[in-house]
């Protein structure tokens, strides 16, 4: 009853003359609809005002009202309509690919995948597997063995060497093998167990971790520090945490693989400057600055200079004073991977900045370090200002999504740093030995015929490689030609890279290692580079690492023997005329 009455009421409010002739039933339907709408609107708060508005609008300008209603209807229809596939997509039943079910099955049947892992060159490279040394502690006389001597076996226990002088360890300072440090480790295991059983965000960070972070920051003079589970992952997690598309990274062209990975994951635009060549860097920075001015970006992009303290592949130093000057001048931030330089450079082992008498917090923005090298524990860390370190707690994948380090590893580090604070004799010792090692190789005329040293005199890792004339003579390639080959492989996207000349040289270097081991009981090593991952210029080299437990006399004797092994192997290769 009420509805009927109101229909009439509404009908009377309609404009008497609709300019366009409208059939009767439409007008009636319209009336009924509008009456229902009116009823509905009256009961909604604010509905009456809306109703007045609609009435007024129909009354004043029926054309506009019609357009509006049309738009609303179109909107509703559009919303309800199924989205049409506008992009060309890869769906099997696409009209472009009219394949019948049988054809699809045939295609699937025909597909033959490659093996999961390419084993085609495994036999050619098996010597690499066979030459991995395994430290042996099963033998009875282990107890009587003192660092730096060890027993090793190779090739599944087929070869066995006793009392070998270990010149490969990355534990340069050897402080972590002091009894007072081991006691701390044991006490911690007794109080905390081994694993932390959770990521840092979820109850995994213990007082031990916080304490170590404070201690690290204090020791290196930065505002903050962040701990990571593995040194190799740190750079590849930190750089991507602060970069996105459009940001700029200028990197040294001989950085190690962990940074190469980081650059790949960073999504940024990457430029390389010539290895340790500040002129090349400055030219690049000027060029970038100018092109940035031309582009007129809405916001400044983040800009980084990325380099290493002591280079993983060559052992030379980055010129920090010039880098700092350039980064300040051109408003870049400086990232330095100090995996090898922390703990050994500078008077008290505070790394590259101390070596150049600079303040770490003002000269380097992000420092990446390893607890597994000079400090002799395990894990990695980052040093820098508050904001940067804090952001990693949520922005850095390897920190957020990985379990915290075992408490004993971090408290061991705290103890090591404490000892280093009081006593820098280990650091001094390593520096003296490094210098000795370096001088021996640099001054020797016989050796310089065949090999060249690339590392700095401060580096506890001596890198030496065949000099170019000898390499040309025997292996017929150079760093540039090797890099060209690498680029070719990269363009072809091949996972397996077998470069015969490179492989031959590596084999030859291994021969020198074997000679020193078999004849003189001295363990040195090839620099471990994996060709398939490298995307920057590199060359095979040999490494000799010193540590604080080696006496000068032992080192002198060992060097004479290593020299003999090198000369012996190299002279064999020289064609006799």
């Amino acid at each position: 009853m009420v509805a009927a009455a109101s229909i009439d009421a509404v009908a009377s409010t309609l404009p008497n003359s609709i300019p366009v002739p409208v059939p009767h039933f439409i007008a009636k339907l319209g009336c009924q609809l509008s009456s229902l709408l009116t009823l509905l609107l009256i009961h909604i708060p604010g509905g009456t005002q809306l109703l007045t508005y609609i009435k007024k609008s129909i009354h004043d300008d029926p054309y506009r009202a019609a357009v509006e209603i049309g738009l609303i209807v179109y909107g509703i229809l559009y919303w309800l309509a199924k989205p049409k596939r506008t992009k060309k997509s890869y769906i099997l039943n696409d009209s472009k690919l009219l394949l019948s079910e049988r054809e699809i099955n045939d295609l699937i049947e025909d597909w033959e995948p490659e093996p999961l892992v390419d084993a085609s060159i495994l036999e050619e490279q098996r010597w690499r597997l066979q030459s991995i040394p395994v430290i042996d502690t099963v033998t009875d006389d282990t107890k009587s063995l003192k660092q730096p001597f060890i027993n090793i076996s190779r090739d599944d226990n087929k070869e066995f060497y006793k009392n070998v002088l270990n010149l490969t360890s990355h534990n340069f300072l050897q402080i972590s093998s002091l009894p007072q440090v081991l006691d701390v480790a044991k006490q911690t295991v007794e109080n905390y167990g081994v694993g932390a059983c959770g990521p840092a965000g979820f109850y995994g960070n213990q007082d031990a971790h916080y304490t170590t972070e404070y201690k690290l920051a204090e020791f290196f003079g930065t505002e903050g520090a962040v701990l990571y589970g593995q040194d190799f992952c740190v750079a590849a997690s930190v750089i991507p945490a602060f970069t996105k598309r459009g940001d700029l990274i200028v990197a040294d062209d001989q950085v190690s693989l962990s940074i190469q990975n980081a650059l790949q994951l960073s999504r940024s635009t990457i430029y390389y400057f010539k290895h340790n060549d500040m002129e090349s860097l400055e030219n690049l920075l000027i060029e970038l600055n100018e092109s940035e001015k031309l582009e007129k970006l809405p916001a400044i992009p983040r800009k980084f200079i990325v380099t290493e303290g002591l280079f993983h592949n060559s052992g030379d130093l980055a010129p920090l004073p010039q880098l700092t000057r350039l980064k300040n001048k051109y408003k870049f931030r400086l990232f330095v991977d100090e995996t090898f330089s922390l703990g050994v450079l500078g008077k008290t082992g505070r790394g590259l900045s101390e070596h150049f008498n600079m303040d770490r917090s003002s000269s380097i923005d992000i420092t990446v370090g390893s607890m597994a090298t000079a400090f002799g524990s395990s894990g990695g860390f980052v040093l820098g200002d508050h904001i940067m370190t804090f952001h990693q707690h949520i922005g850095s994948n390897a920190y957020c999504f990985s379990a915290s380090l075992p408490a004993y590893t971090v408290l061991t580090l705290t103890k090591v740093l404490e000892i280093m604070d009081q006593d820098n004799s280990a650091v001094n010792k390593v520096q003296v030995l490094s210098k000795m090692l370096h001088d021996f190789f640099i001054t020797d005329d016989q050796l310089s015929k065949f090999v060249e040293v690339t590392s700095d005199e401060q580096s506890p890792v001596l890198h030496f490689r065949l000099n170019q004339s000898f390499r040309d003579l025997i292996f017929h390639y150079s760093m540039d030609s090797l890099f060209e080959t690498i680029i070719k492989f990269q363009q072809k996207n091949s996972t397996t890279r077998f470069i015969e000349n490179f492989e031959n040289e590596e084999k030859f270097l291994q021969k020198i290692v074997d000679k020193a081991l078999i004849k003189h009981n001295i363990l040195i090593s090839r620099n471990t580079i994996v060709m398939k991952h490298e995307s920057l210029p590199c060359l095979p080299s040999l490494k000799i690492c010193v540590n604080a437990n080696i006496s000068e006399k032992i080192l002198v004797d060992a060097l004479a023997n290593i020299k003999e092994s090198i000369l012996h192997c190299c002279q064999e290769l020289v064609p006799k005329n």
């Binding site: 490659e114 597997l129 960070n205 213990q206 007082d207 304490t211 916001a299 894990g379 075992p406």
Partner: protein
């Protein structure tokens, strides 16, 4: 260096260990079994393929409230940002360009963290001390200025531990594992000499790898020093841009990072949806690489054994069937399932009774069930040989230190029954019982719980972001440590609390937990299940009283008929 008194208290101090009698200490880390009743031997699923997981859904008004909740938070955040950047520039130096340098992170990127997460920062990263066993000792902290900074009065609170991944209870400071770790420190020291291919390998590494291979039923295995790093630097050893990775949408970030580094193309399928997966595989084999349309070199299906946020199992039998049918390869990340699931603790293969050799590559971590650290890869010997040469972690990263290896070896041997026969089996039966008891208890009380009945990860849905801090704080007041997770780890509206079960908890601990969750659940209005994911009772959603639950569930949880799936 000197600090002012106020600065000193903003730092977490090293808490000296409490002097407790050894027995009490042991009980605190690993509660002894109160009755043989509370053990459960799990049965294999006999290669039975799983149906799609049944996910309960909340009533519409809960969804609406949750969205509203976020809307208000976001609007407030933007107002806060607007006013803050106008009037309080000195407090927002982290997002403002300074002196020609771009900020470390942009305002937009960090909005969620600064304006939403920060409000509840007191629920995350609570510092702890001591062994994360049955109880965890949380260091008390006082929040200031809306979580701007915390101060630490130096006291601690013992909380029931539902937060650590200590599935089998091997986080202990007494017992065979600790003894092994201590011995290894004497013998090998604590350092990890260098990369594995250089000098990082010791006889302990060889022993551990052989043991893990035997434990898993694979030919050979490799051990790495970090679980995240295992995945993140694995895929680039054998994949390139002409390979395809088909990945579950909920896979862990480490897998995604690893695959991204390899350059392989990635296609995602809906979580555990085998029909979608098959369709995707067929499509990809036929269409091949985009643009060139050449066939893929190889296709790898990547899944996790037990998904850590959902508690769901991968549908292994179906995956193996698909992989065989379409000649794909299968990679299973068992980070959470290894050790914790299956009658003998051998992970998902054990749960389904599948031969491990049906899976091409098994990956897992030692952080969780083993109470150690690091990860492993297990597969055929010829592949491992290649990986030893090609994996970047092997040649550039550090090797696993000896004490961690000792913990891995001793805990694995305990699970296998070689050390302290019977102990490993008991741990497995305890976690099986505990997981099912808590899960069924929560379901009967009316909470929405996700996942497989046997899963030791028990996610309970909270939905509203505001209920997360409320739940976490109320539980902390009741001395229970729980983990709350929200976006981006979960879908936006499905904020949840994740209970991680452990063999070190006793049945009475779970009773205590259930009582308090029941009480808090009533206060926070969390009992909203529709009964869809439960066994039908009388057509109504289950809302049992706590007394009823505690009385009947310990018996009932042992029978499959009380669980769906």
């Amino acid at each position: 260096m000197t600090y002012t008194s106020s600065a000193a208290t903003t730092r977490v101090k090293l808490i000296p260990p409490k002097e407790l009698p050894v027995l009490v200490q042991k009980e605190n880390e690993y509660g002894s079994l109160t009755s043989k009743e509370f053990l459960l031997e799990t049965k294999r699923l006999k290669s039975k393929s799983l149906g799609p997981p049944i996910m309960d859904t909340p009533p519409y008004y809960i969804v609406l409230i949750t969205y509203l909740n976020y809307l208000i938070l976001i609007i407030l955040g933007h107002i806060h940002d607007f006013l803050g950047l106008k009037f309080q520039k000195e407090k927002h130096t982290d997002v403002i360009e300074q002196d020609g340098y771009a900020p470390w992170f942009s305002k937009f990127e960090s909005f969620y963290v600064r304006r939403l997460k920060k409000r509840i920062d007191d629920c995350f990263a609570r510092p702890t001390t001591g062994v994360p066993g049955r109880f965890i000792e949380c260091i008390d902290r006082i929040s200031h200025n809306m979580n701007d900074f915390f101060t630490y009065p130096g006291s601690t609170t013992m909380c029931l531990n539902l937060s650590s991944y200590n599935y089998l209870g091997f986080a202990q400071s007494k017992g065979q594992c600790t003894d092994a770790a201590l011995d290894s420190i004497d013998k090998y020291g604590v350092q990890s000499n260098g990369p594995r291919t250089l000098i990082g390998t010791t006889d302990l590494h060889v022993e551990a790898e052989r043991l893990i291979a035997t434990f898993l039923g694979k030919e050979d295995a490799m051990i790495f020093s970090q679980g995240y790093g295992t995945n993140a630097n694995f895929f680039n050893a054998f994949l390139d841009s002409k390979c395809l990775v088909i990945s579950d949408e909920l896979n862990h970030t480490s897998i995604r990072t690893g695959v991204r580094l390899s350059g392989a193309t990635v296609r995602i399928f809906k979580h555990n949806d085998m029909t979608a997966l098959e369709k995707l595989i067929r499509e990809q084999i036929v269409l091949g690489q985009p643009k060139t349309s050449r066939p893929w070199k190889k296709i790898i299906i990547c899944v996790e054994g037990l998904f850590s946020m959902e508690g769901t199992l991968c549908n292994l039998p179906a995956l193996i069937e698909l992989k065989k049918k379409y000649k794909c390869y299968l990679y299973v990340d068992e980070a959470h399932s290894i050790g914790a699931m299956g009658p003998t603790g051998r992970g998902v293969c054990d749960v389904f009774g599948v031969d491990p050799n049906e899976i091409d590559i098994l990956m897992g971590t030692f952080t969780k069930s083993f109470g150690a650290a690091g990860g492993y890869i297990a597969c055929d010997k010829w592949m491992i040989d290649r990986f030893r040469l090609d994996l970047s972690t092997c040649s550039y990263g550090e090797s696993t230190p000896a004490p961690v290896l000792a913990q891995i070896i001793s805990s694995t041997r305990t699970i296998m029954g070689q050390l302290h026969p019977g102990e490993g089996a008991e741990r497995l039966q305890r976690i099986a019982f505990n997981s099912r008891y808590l899960r069924l208890g929560l379901q009967r009380l009316g909470f929405i719980v996700y996942g497989h009945p046997d899963s030791p990860v028990i996610p309970m849905l909270l939905y509203c972001p505001s209920k997360m801090p409320a739940f976490s704080r109320m539980m902390l007041q009741r001395k229970i440590a729980v983990v709350v997770v929200a976006y981006p780890a979960t879908p936006l509206i499905e904020s949840r609390v994740r209970f991680c079960m452990s063999a070190s908890l006793t049945k009475e601990d779970i009773d205590y937990l259930l009582r308090h969750v029941d009480e808090v659940g009533d206060k926070l209005f969390l009992k909203v299940s529709s009964g869809k994911a439960n066994v039908e009772e009388d057509g109504r959603p289950p809302r049992w009283s706590i007394e009823e639950v505690l009385e009947k569930t310990p018996q009932d949880c042992k029978y499959d008929r009380f669980f769906l799936d």
